[in-house]
């Protein structure tokens, strides 16, 4: 499904990452691998270090910290926020909505729309599309998009499929109206038949958490996880991405009317270096135009990986010039989505640590 928008701009991106850093080597002995094999895998996948919360910090804690930083730095006026979108797979509670909790913490006005969206790897794209839709309303001039995932507590330390790469984080993106035409081209696809390629079996209404769901079980590959933990069927996800994402990108480029070589950067979700390099090669995009260095430096924080790859790699360029970017997220759902749009002299683009 294609969407088009105009007269909207991203005016700032802030990534909030935990202070706490864990090295791949620190956890290597958890896995059912020889040291030599682990180190080869580290090189191929880009595993190195990751940022994860400690002391029970949650998604709303990271988001609130980022918002308060922007307010204290005079980069955001609380009274100007007309809508607050919170995209996450790790809300603070089943109820109330986390966006309402953040609304209360920040003291936002009552004339505001708070919205929680359950999305993961494609959550940045889905959140932006929602923001663009809201900005078509007369009453909405500025939207704050919050992406946050604190999945590390949901990953088994003995699961070599997931634990080496999963990080935690949050981002704050400001989207607002502009007089610039700024054509924005989006494409989204969904396939619920693949919904369980990435899942957490227990904790919802179908299978509430219990002592039984907390029991560790060994899978065919020697990973230990419980039903309370994230399950990632790596082979299925890899094949889905390599099959579907290039087609989606080619489609959105065609619809946009741009040539592929006019796009300055391809800022994609960051599952691992190997997968991204294969995508770049398939799309015939130079690997330096598709950075793949988030997993090795911070871990993959799901919907936060796109703002992280942007703020980590091209903040200086975004602050000083216009850049044409192709963004793409893909994963849980299954959901895969992309946006092509210009980023025009952002007011801020940075990473802070909590």
């Amino acid at each position: 499904m294609n969407f088009q928008f105009k007269n909207k701009v991203i005016s700032g991106i802030l990534t909030v990452l935990p202070d706490n850093e864990v090295l791949f080597e620190d956890e290597m002995s958890n896995y059912n691998f020889s040291e030599q094999k682990s180190l080869k895998l580290k090189a191929a996948m880009g595993f190195n270090k990751k940022r994860v919360v400690k002391n029970g910090e949650t998604s709303s804690d990271l988001c609130t910290y980022g918002l308060e930083y922007l307010v204290d730095s005079s980069l955001l006026e609380v009274s100007e926020i007309d809508a607050l979108i919170f995209v996450s797979q790790t809300p603070d509670y089943i109820m109330p909505p986390t966006s309402n909790i953040i609304h209360g913490k920040l003291g936002l006005k009552r004339d505001v729309l708070c919205l929680d969206i359950n999305q993961g790897c494609a959550g940045y794209i889905i959140g932006l599309i929602q923001a663009f839709m809201l900005l078509d309303q007369k009453s909405i001039n500025k939207v704050v998009l919050l992406n946050a995932d604190v999945l590390s507590p949901k990953v088994s330390k003995r699961d070599r499929n997931s634990n080496p790469l999963i990080g935690d984080g949050a981002s704050v993106t400001i989207i607002e109206k502009t007089e610039l035409e700024n054509n924005i081209h989006c494409s989204v696809k969904m396939d619920g038949l693949g919904a369980f390629a990435l899942n957490i079996p227990a904790g919802g209404a179908k299978l509430p958490n219990s002592n039984e769901t907390a029991l560790l079980e060994e899978d065919y590959a020697g990973n230990f996880r419980s039903k309370d933990h994230l399950v990632m069927k790596g082979d299925e996800v890899f094949n889905f991405v390599q099959t579907e994402v290039p087609e989606l990108i080619e489609e959105v480029i065609k619809v946009s009317g741009y040539n592929k070589d006019e796009i300055d950067y391809f800022m994609f979700h960051q599952p691992n270096k190997f997968m991204l390099n294969k995508l770049a090669d398939k799309l015939e995009v130079p690997r330096e135009k598709m950075p793949s260095n988030v997993v090795e430096n911070f871990g993959n924080a799901s919907g936060v990986s796109i703002p992280t790859v942007i703020t980590f790699n091209i903040s200086d360029k975004l602050l000083s010039q216009s850049n044409l970017l192709c963004l793409s997220g893909f994963g849980v759902g299954l959901t895969w989505a992309a946006i092509i749009m210009k980023f025009e002299n952002l007011k801020f683009s940075k990473i802070i640590y909590k």
Partner: protein
């Protein structure tokens, strides 16, 4: 090409004899993580990029299957 492939395989899993006529995947000689390492090594050794959509278990089940994959990826014998 066959000898180069066997050498790379033995570097990844030195405990197995890859000159045997067995299915590497079904017999546990290679798991999915070995395949990632193998693809990275083959890409470097033969200066190619094996397409992502070709990274399927059946294409790594034997030296012959890997040879065919390399040929499809542009390696000449």
């Amino acid at each position: 090409m066959k000898q180069q492939i066997i050498k790379i395989l033995e570097e990844i899993r030195p405990e197995f004899d890859f000159s045997e006529e067995v299915n590497f995947i079904e017999n546990g000689y290679l798991d999915s993580f070995d395949v990632v390492t193998l693809v990275t090594s083959l890409d470097e050794c033969f200066n190619i990029s094996i397409p992502g959509i070709e990274i399927l278990p059946e294409n790594f089940s034997s030296v012959q299957a890997i040879t065919e994959l390399l040929k499809r990826s542009g390696v000449k014998e």
